[in-house]
Symmetry: C2
Subunit: 267 residues, 2 copies
DNA sequence: CGACTTTTTGACACGAGTCAAATCTAGTGG
DNA sequence: CCACTAGATTTGACTCGTGTCAAAAAGTCG
């Protein structure tokens, strides 16, 4: 397997390419995206270590989307011929990869629902829930916190909104005391409230066993998705994560009502 | 193969089901959809004859979306065991199905781009382009017209907007003289203009050969996707389709400017 | 310490949602 | 062949979520 490194914003492969190799994320975060003729950019998926982005190039001649590095990224790749040989020799393996691509489809559908039927506030919350859950599944997140180096504008591209708007909504999430994001670190202070705002149900991730987060329990060792080379444990650079929860409205005199957001949940 | 029939709005399978059979659309249009806890509904894909919806249930235990009939629908189904047997016996077949599910993923990504980065006007135009192209590929559309019995509210659910708004945008498309929709019939009067407004590029459909529409040429006989039982040619019930093109602004005296829409293309 | 990228904010415009009521259309049953 | 009804299509008036522009404040890196 050949390993290559990429810097943030660098493309690994671009739309219409006909890659001759299959990739897998070894370390870092990558994003799949497509663009509009008018310059619009839509991220269609984020890949975490262990994921196999663009595996479809094995079956479909032309790649219909691009893949770019979001953080510094290490990608492992194997030539198509070698892969075909392995798949032919081990039908079980083919099933596993098929399953992987099917899950990718499932995520895309959930994103469709998320971006199409929820407001920006819920969308962002949902994305945070998804990413944290997936990172936990590969042991890259613990205690509801994880390394998080996505730019607000990358989040915007994924959510189908503007970077400016992401910033506003992010502020709300913070003011609600649901999360803390900064210094390359995401901390979820109130998972239940966030999941509720996001209308998040991890079923679509098709995680086996119960690595899917449901309560405070720390996920078991190692994920189930062949993350052959778990990223070297790098000392969290940001603020040590169990930050003091920024409780909203604690100083006032009278019984202050919640900062207001819970509106969209009146139904 | 077992055949079953469904009436519009009827569900074929619903989220969380664990179907024991694989389906294929024989006749009619079906839709895959997901819903939000607050009642929002998002259609994630439309299926035309020859498509194999929800094939993933073979690999993924639980179905993560529902499938419903949009028009009267005939579905053929085969038990999982039988399918597994066939796939094991014919690796080539497995590849073909894998390819099919990958294409489904490609469509989902394009929808993500469409719904996330284009305004309702372009989205609707894009959906029309996609559906007509796909129907042509299975020989269910000719001369840029086809049977079209989707409800405005179904279109809305697919585009992530409101039915009311679909109606308004549809009016614009008509006023521009781009299409005619009514009586269960869709006619595209100006394909180039529509494709331009939609920013439509059929590459993501991964159609082989060139059944993908690019000019006025009528598509060759029969599609490539195993539509084993092409729908019985039913005499078009609506108005005979080559309707008079509703040219916009033909009566005025002075040099009327185009009804205005082309705004979103100023870039 | 500059040069640059990312994050924040405010003011204002516009696309899309909400509500409601008035047609229009298919079916259905008489 | 025609009322009768339920669903689908249209429209108007008004609200609200997001986009657009701009510019200041922070953060990053050689």
């Amino acid at each position: 397997m050949q390993v290559s490194a990429y810097e943030p914003h660098q493309d690994v492969v671009v739309e219409n390419d006909r890659p001759a190799r299959c990739f897998t994320v070894l370390d870092g975060i990558a994003a799949a995206y497509k663009t509009t003729n008018e310059g619009g950019r839509q991220v269609t998926a984020f890949y975490v270590p262990g994921d196999v982005p663009g595996f479809q190039c094995l079956q479909l001649e032309v790649l219909d989307f691009s893949i770019a590095a979001v953080t510094t990224l290490r990608i492992g790749s194997v030539g198509h011929d070698a892969v075909r040989g392995m798949l032919a020799a081990h039908p079980r393996l083919a099933d596993a990869f098929w399953r992987t691509t099917l899950i990718e489809g499932s995520l895309a559908r959930e994103w469709l629902l998320n971006n199409g039927r929820r407001e920006a506030y819920g969308r962002l919350a949902h994305l945070f829930c998804e990413l944290l859950t997936r990172l936990e599944a590969v042991d890259l997140a613990h205690g509801r916190a994880c390394d998080f180096r996505l730019t607000q504008s990358e989040l915007a591209d994924a959510l189908g909104v503007t970077a400016v708007h992401v910033n506003r909504v992010l502020k709300e999430l913070r003011d609600q005391g649901l999360i803390t994001l900064g210094g390359g670190r995401l901390v979820i202070h109130d998972w239940d409230a966030l999941a509720e705002a996001a209308d998040f149900d991890p079923a679509y991730l098709h995680l086996r066993r119960d690595d899917a987060r449901t309560d405070a329990a720390v996920i078991g060792p190692g994920g189930h998705r062949g993350a052959r080379e778990p990223s070297p444990s790098k000392p969290a650079p940001g603020p040590t994560w169990p930050l003091p929860v920024p409780v909203a409205a604690t100083s006032g005199t009278g019984p202050r009502t919640q900062p207001d957001r819970p509106r969209p949940r009146p139904a």
